[in-house]
Every structure is written in C-alpha cells, then in structure tokens.
Symmetry: C2
Subunit: 408 residues, 2 copies
C-alpha cells in the first residue's frame, strides 16, 4: 500500500504536494542542479501511494509539463534530448495520464457508452421449468457478441466500452442513460432501450446509434437485413419442405426486428397460400424461458401446433425445442423449429438449429464506426445501415444434412 518512502514527498496527502501545480513558480524541482543523472535518483521519490501526475514527470525530467504533454501526444517536434528525458521519466515513474483530466481538457473521453436492456436480477424461470433457463438473462450470447464487436472496433480507435444494463422493468431509464452519456462520447443502444421521444431528446445532447432500432434525423441505426433473411427462410420452409401451416413466435411486440421478421414471413406465407399462426398467444420475449412458456401454453390449451414454428430469435427457439422435447414432440419430425441470429449455441443443439445468420460482430463494429464518425462531426454516409443476413440450413427445419443454403 502507501509506503511513505523517502523524505521529500508527502505520501498520503493531496497529490498537489507543495502546491506546485497552482502557482507557476517552480518551487524546487525545475532545472535545479541540472544534474543529468540526478534525475534518475529523484525518480524513485514520486512513488508515493497514488499514481504520479504530469507534474511529477516534469520535475523528474527537468522540463515543463507542456513539454511532457507534447512528447506524450506527439505534438510539434520536441528535441530528441527533451523527448528522451521525458520518456525516461515516464517509464521510471510508470506514468500514465489521468483519464478524467485528459478527457476534460481534450473534450474527448475515448469511451463509448453501451446500454443493454435486460432483467437486472436473475429471475427464476417464470413457469414450470426445472430451472433449465435460470440465469438465462445473464448469459445471452447475442448481446455479448454484439458488445464484443463494438469493443473490437473501439479498440482500434483507442476507445473503451462503458457498459450499463437497464432493467426491463425500469420505466424511466432516462436518468440512468443520460448519466452514462455524460461519462462517454457517444452511446450505442441495444434493442428497445429507449422510446422514440426520449431517444430524440437524448440525441440532441450526444451522438447516439441504435442497434436494431429505427433511424431518425438525429440518430443512426444499424441492423441486419431482416426481410431478406426471413424471406430466404420462409421460402425454404414453404417451397423446399412444403410446409403449409406455420407459427411465428415473436420477440417483444415493440421490437422493430421482430416486427420486420414477422411481416416478411407473413407476406411469403400469404403468397404461398399457406397459413400463419400468430397473435397474442404467440407473443414471446426473445428469451428461451419465454419461448418455452408460450409453447407449454399452446400445448396445454390443446391447440394443434403448426407444422413449423418460426421463432423471432435463436434463444426463443432454444426454449421452444426444450418444451417440445419435454412433451415428447419430435423435432423436426412432428414440428420443425427455426431461429434467427445464429448464435454459436445454435450449432450445438440437437437437432442443430436452422436459422438466419446475422453478422453479429460486424453489426457491433459497424455501430461503433458510425458512432465514431458522428463523434468526429462527420456526416455519416448512411443513417440506416443494413448488413446482410443469410439462411443457415441445418437440421431443425427437417433437413438432414447440415450445411449452408443460400437462397434468393
């Protein structure tokens, strides 16, 4: 911990030691003896308890803080000797600039706020499950992969991710979100984080990019091609398999993604003259527990299930398949099931899940890049960026081979 090493320094107290920073008059340290080597001896001194500041570096190097800053930021062109002394002092002290001070001064925090909406407290499965989906909200692969993509792109620009989860039950997340916004240079919002009104207001203060939302005049949006992906899937089911009755197990009702997928499916089904079940009793929530619950309910009500259940996402499909198996319904023999997203787990289910692959990581990377250009006051090329999605035909649709089919 804080070792009150040598004299000279006040170890515990304010880093302002000796009040040097305030008045410009260098009280002790500046060029003093000019001892070339004396510096390294002094170096150890700053090793008090807390991190060294730029003043410590300047003192040890025998230069002004401006020079230190310039060397560190590559401004102008410091003389080699100056540069050396500074760099030596920096590594001696293990100095790194304070993020807050740097941010305040440079007006750039090099931080992106990312907000995910999900239950904050691990909720047990809401139904009769045997805890199969406990901790589900804690381990969703989709949002985490999205974040990884954001992070990857951010890292290239020297940015970091500031992550915050808002509770699904939080009906006024505005405060929490604005606060996060002020800790970062811009915000990336996952699905359904904020309603259009608050979004609008927020976006007047900070750059905002939504994932799977809706672009507006002040916000950009990144999502994948739900329509094309769903059309490919639907045609495969209708045409290749010849299914005539389908069900769409939706995500949240107000999710643009779920809506778009539903519409695309509906159109294809109608065109093929087949039947699509949907409606309130088919309302899921993007979670496996939700998918399982809906399935249980359907089964319990004695309804005849459609030949194939098209789920809003993989997570839901996972729950559906689980519930079906539990009731002894064969998948895909009696009822086929499909997902959307293609999370890694989809390949490890039995049967392997037929789904539509979204380029999840790229979605995140793109969201960051768009935000980055907004942060730099560039006019983004597109306010609504669409990435391609493609059908991953595996087993749960009724195909026996696994592989990838690309349809128009």
């Amino acid at each position: 911990m804080a070792v009150p090493v040598d004299g000279g320094q006040t170890a515990g107290g304010s880093p302002a030691d000796g009040g040097v920073p305030g008045n410009g008059i260098a009280d002790g340290g500046v060029p003093d003896g000019g001892t070339a080597d004396g510096a390294s001896a002094v170096g150890a001194s700053a090793d008090g308890g807390s991190a060294p500041t730029i003043y410590d570096v300047a003192r040890v190097a025998g230069v002004s803080i401006a020079s230190v800053s310039r060397v560190l930021n590559g401004r102008r062109n410091p003389r080699p000797e100056t540069r050396d002394r500074v760099l030596r002092a920096v590594s001696e002290l293990g100095f790194a600039p304070d993020g807050a001070a740097r941010a305040l001064s440079a007006r750039l925090k090099e931080t992106v706020g990312v907000i995910v909406r999900r239950p904050l407290v691990p909720a047990g499965a809401p139904d009769g499950d045997d805890g199969a989906f406990a901790d589900e909200a804690e381990s969703l692969q989709f949002p985490d992969m999205l974040n990884r993509g954001i992070e990857r792109a951010a890292q290239r620009r020297g940015f970091d991710l500031l992550v915050r989860t808002v509770d699904v039950d939080d009906h006024d997340p505005g405060q929490r979100i604005v606060a996060l916004a002020r800790k970062s240079d811009g915000l990336i919002l996952h699905d359904r984080v904020l309603d259009p009104h608050h979004l609008q207001r927020l976006s007047r203060q900070v750059p905002v990019v939504t994932l799977a939302g809706i672009a507006s005049e002040t916000t950009a949006n990144v999502h994948s091609d739900n329509r094309a992906g769903m059309v490919a899937l639907a045609r495969h089911l209708l045409r290749d398999h010849g299914y005539r009755t389908l069900g769409y197990l939706g995500g949240y009702g107000d999710s643009p993604d779920s809506l778009a997928r539903h519409e695309a499916l509906e159109a294809e089904v109608a065109r093929a003259g087949a039947v699509l079940h949907s409606g309130p009793q088919w309302q899921g929530n993007y979670y496996a527990a939700g998918g399982a619950a809906v399935t249980e309910r359907l089964l319990a009500s004695g309804t005849t299930l459609p030949r194939v259940i098209v789920c809003a996402n993989d997570q839901t499909a996972l729950g559906v398949m689980y519930a079906l198996r539990r009731r002894g319904v064969d998948v895909p023999g009696e009822v086929a099931v499909t997902g959307f997203d293609d999370i890694p787990m989809a390949r490890h289910l039995h049967p392997q899940l037929t789904t539509v692959r979204q380029p999840i990581g790229e979605l995140g990377e793109t969201a960051f890049e768009v935000l980055y250009s907004m942060i730099n006051h560039e006019r983004p090329a597109e306010r609504d960026v669409v990435l391609p999605a493609r059908l991953m035909c595996r087993e749960s649709c009724g195909c026996h081979i696994s592989g990838q089919v690309s349809e128009t």
Copy 2:
C-alpha cells in the same frame, strides 16, 4: 461580456444540431430574462448544440454554480426555494453533470476497469473441425457472466464497467492495462491477465482485484473453492461410479484454477489407487476448440482413452464431447466426461453435463465489493476470498437421473 443566453448555436458544433428543427431544449421555455442574473458566470460560453453545463443551470435558475452543485449532491441543506429553482432548471435543460469534470474534481470516477484476456480476432477453429467452434472466444459464457455479476454489484454503488480485452498474444499488455487503470478507480482482472511482477507494480498505483488469480500483499483475489469442488466430483466418479482410469484435460498451464483442480483430482485419484492420465498431451486451453483438438489428437494417436475425462472447465468439456461424438464414441457409455463452472449451456448439452457449479455471478459481485472497499481505503477483511462450489451431477458422468448431489 454578456453571455448570449441561449442563442449561441454554432452550426458546426454538434452532430446533432445540424439540421435539427427546434434546436434548443435550452431556448424553449426558459424565461431567462426574469431573473437578475447578468453574466453570472464567466465560463459559460456554451456551444449551442452540446450538453448544458452547470453554468447554464445556474444562470437559468438564477443562483450560483455552487448552489446547483449542492442541490444536486445533497450537501448542506439548501433552502426549499433554491432547491426548487435548481431542480426546475435542471429538468428544463436536461442537465446531467459531465463525468470527466466530476471525476477530476471529486477524485472519483465511479468506474471499474475490467480486463479479460482472449483472442481479439475471431480465430477459426485451429483443427479439422467444421467450424463448430467458430466465434467461440466471442461468446464465452463464463467471463460474460462474471462481468454481469461485477456490473450488478457496481450498479448498486453507482459504478459502471469499463471493459477491455487484451489479446492472448499480447506479451506486454502493461501499457494498455495501466491506461485503463487511469480511466477508472480500480481494476478487476480476469484469469491470467498479468504476471505477478507487473501485477505488483500496477497495484501500487491502483486497487486491483484478481479473479482466479493469486492474492498478494497489494492485491486481493476472489475465486471459488476449486479443491472442495473437485474433491466432490472425484469421489463421485471414483466411488459412486467406480471408474479406475481418469484423464485430466487442463486449462492453461499457468492458470491457478486449473492447477488447483488438477492437484485436488490427483490426490483423490491416488488415494483411491486409480490411474490419472495427464501431461503435455492433455494440455488444453479452456476452449472447446482446444478440448476437441486434444481429444482428436488422443484418438488419432491410438491411445486408449481413460474411462472418464475430467475437464478443466465446461467449455473444454463441450469440445471433448463434440469430438467424441464425431468419432462415434458414446458418452457416457464408453467415456464419461465432466466439466467445471456450470455455465448455462451445460444443461443443454446431450447428455447433460455433470460439472462443478461455481457461483459465477457472486464471484463477480464479490470481486467488486472487495475492490470497492479498497477504493474507499478500507482494509478488506480478506485478501483471498473463497466462495463455495458444488457438484452438479447430471448425465455425462454416467448417472441417468438429473439432479444435484452434494458430497462431502
């Protein structure tokens, strides 16, 4: 110099203000002229489009910035009228304090840095797999659940998570990590992020807590009871199932967790007079791809597999089971497999994975709480916190029922 009350919108300023109709939240309803404010603050030359500052609030409310700050932070006891005016101004302007300024002044960033080590670029499966484990490093449930736990605890204290991934190939992550440290109040490091030497140096500047590492004089460590968990598992395999040949498929060689599990297993196996296979050809890396590769190699070399393969973690077990199935080896009939962690996916494998459950979320929460006390200069009660782990006996060990067995 009179400060323009609202109208100073510099067009080029914020990305948002460009063509936005109704530009101001600020200019809308503020009856500024009302109060005798004059140019209350010198520094209030706010840009039109960007977020309002405390000076704007003070001006609108007709009070000093100190009062605004006091109302917002609940210091002292402002007169009700003052409080009202301030609060009204705040909500009118949609003000939230700038994080960097607040952090600099209050010497508290309310941010925890979290560092995970993993491949930065999604690497394809390193072996002959059909891409079954592509994106694996992007979607590990374990570290993400750990982070969720940290986040949950952090949120209670008003802290946020600043996340950074360092590449496994990065042999000098020191710089990147120190930089992150200076953006936060303390660091939580996942497994194997930093060697003891650098750790030591780092921990002199900021509070550091490691997860699954080793406690030192200046750092705290949080982990689960590897020994007890592994002993319970080993006894179940040796005693209840009567297996006589076992193999330990390890995580990274320098991972304290993997080492502890290995030792505990070894001791139990020796005591039972059974045989444990391990060594270089049994060296995994905590990933499914690694587990699969080791298994493939073992199979290819013609070695007789032990009756049960005990894996360092669930992810590895996933890969092992995958490779076994691919070669037509029945699990658990011919070879049983067990994991460690109990990630949610473990329950969805076929057969369901027998494993040792770590309280993953709690591990994260605890790590944060320990760090929090360090940030507040409290002497943590324990430098090495151990949380209980328990056997989750399911199917992959050879049991046919699923449920939970608790052994001594």
